[in-house]
Symmetry: C2
């Protein structure tokens, strides 16, 4: 069952309208994946998603994805990067950064790690203000 979303979404505007950091909102569904937008500042938490890849697209600012065993990936506006399933990573935004995410409907925000920033899917499905 697909959720009813607006016909089209301007990703940057949708992300700009968010009022809270690290609180992704679902804006579209394509097959078994959600498209989300998020506003980031600082760092989230080291975590992984054991069975799910996660795609990042930077809409404004810069995003660094840190890895345990390899150099960080530094992403500028318009660039995408896929964090492979099962790989520990830590997203860091030195300054405010707006992103779009694509990940399976089943993906949990911070994997098996629970932090005070962890957002459940119902919260992510709330309409953007």
């Amino acid at each position: 069952m697909h959720i009813n979303f607006p016909t089209q979404i301007e990703l940057l505007s949708a992300a700009q309208s968010l009022t809270e950091h690290w609180s992704p909102r679902v804006v579209a569904q394509v097959n078994d994946q959600y498209v989300k937008v998020a506003k980031l500042l600082g760092q989230l938490a080291w975590h992984d998603h054991s069975g799910e890849d996660e795609l990042f697209l930077v809409l404004s600012g810069r995003l660094r994805i840190e890895y345990r065993d390899q150099p960080p990936v530094e992403l500028a506006v318009g660039s995408i990067h896929v964090v492979p399933r099962g790989v520990q990573h830590n997203p860091v935004a030195e300054q405010e950064c707006l992103i779009a995410l694509i990940e399976p409907i089943a993906t949990r925000h911070t994997g098996d790690v629970a932090t005070d920033r962890t957002r459940g899917i119902n919260e992510q499905l709330r309409a953007i203000a």
Copy 2:
């Protein structure tokens, strides 16, 4: 089995480097979906994908998605639109338009319709020049 892709992809540059219209190239995989870039001009063909949604993201120019029974959707840069599975549609670019696409690995370019513009997946997986 995932294909080895570059660590990060600047979507607009990847699309700009294409030399042929209506010939999508795979640039990344996220779970069971491919991310593709394409350069469009004119129209492709009326078709549908019976079991698969298709996400369009406009990187430059404008894209119109025509539908049989509803008004067309006009997409500007930075906007996404999901064509639902099983719905006949026709992408039209009055002027050259660069896009990113997200669709399942199994999706066929023009659905059950074969045209001289139809590109098989092996062609879509070739490295961008």
